[in-house]
Amino acid sequence: MAKYYYDIDDILTEEEFAPVLFHKPANGVTIDPSAETNSVEQGAKVELPFWLAHELHLRQAVSINLPACFDQKTRLEIQADAACVDLRSRCPYFYEFGCKLQPLVTDRTLGILLSTAFKIRYKERLTKVFTATHLTASKFLPFLTIEETNLYEAAHLSMTAFKKWRTGGPRFQRASILGRKRKES
């Protein structure tokens, strides 16, 4: 928990908006743009950042619905061809946000959607982007989510380090102890 407290990606993931339904009224807040007074009525539907929605959900003040990035349209596109879907434009932290939402919403298929999308995209897109030329890779990088981009960069760094190791210096070095000649008795 402590290591995620300062994590910038975790903070930005929790800034994604989620639609909620208020079960309790709240005074002195201007969250609901349709409200005439600075309060939220019971039954109001508003969009809140996930960090706020999550805490209010834990206190049974709201219930969370699925955001638009996980709607039916996105699901159909992922089913058709997950590798070509521009997930970054839907939600830059598609997987992380989905994982955080999954235990809080009633939709039990969200986990399967995330898992399927990641497996297909990893197999069809990420493995090929690692070995592709920079020109080819640059076509697909804007479609990748932040998590996928981090994986790509890690693989790219590993590949660069491997090539550097291969070309730089002898692979095997004779142990210095083997250099000692024994005196013939």
Binding site: Y5, I11, L12, P25, A26, N27, G28, V29, L52
Partner: protein
């Protein structure tokens, strides 16, 4: 309101190149602190309002007990929905409290991640602030510059007969001496004492 200023701090940090510092956004930092103050004032207002509602409720309850009247019916007659108002004030204060905590997290994460980069810079370049190019020095705050100017080291001294074994836990770079992290050195006690922080 509701963490919108605080959110811009990590966003500003993430918009820079990885491992590279951007100039400290003191304007946004101050605006976030100002938003925290606003949250705090509203929490106090709502708590006072909540306390007043509780006082009204219990005062009416005492009078009703004396007069033998049902307190709920009396509240409805007078149009005082104290129970719901009490809940509404509570949840309103809760929203402001959560916003305050979130802004605190954003402020601390911003400073913490910048400090990580400054520490990495110190390890790579050494602790000589004046050796850094001016364009990098301009991005550092006064506090961050002080980190680079002062040595940060911790030593464990294991006493020996004539020499002591010194384990350098963090490392330091002075003008004449360079230590790497977790390196072991044998020094005279008088020499080792100079480096104890």
């Amino acid at each position: 309101m509701y963490g919108r200023k605080g959110y811009q701090l990590p966003k500003d940090f993430a918009s820079g190149e990885k491992g590279h510092l951007k100039p400290f956004n003191s304007k946004l930092f101050d605006e976030t602190i100002e938003e925290c103050d606003q949250n705090h004032h509203l929490i106090q207002f709502l708590i006072r309002h909540l306390s007043l509602s509780i006082c009204i409720y219990f005062t009416n309850k005492v009078f009703c007990l004396i007069e033998g009247v049902d307190v709920t019916r009396k509240m409805e007659q007078e149009g005082l929905d104290v129970h719901n108002n009490r809940n509404a004030d509570h949840y309103g204060a809760l929203v402001h409290h959560l916003s305050l905590i979130h802004n605190k997290r954003c402020l601390m994460a911003y400073v913490h991640n910048r400090a990580d980069i400054v520490r990495d810079l110190a390890w790579r370049v050494g602790l000589e602030l004046l050796d850094l190019p001016p364009e990098i020095q301009d991005k550092l705050t006064t506090l961050e510059k002080r980190v680079l100017q002062e040595p940060f080291c911790s030593y464990q001294i294991v006493h020996g007969k004539s020499r002591n074994r010194v384990e350098c836990r963090y490392g330091a770079s002075k003008r004449t001496t360079n230590f790497t992290r977790h390196s072991m050195h044998f020094l005279k006690r008088t020499d080792a004492e100079l480096y104890i922080a």
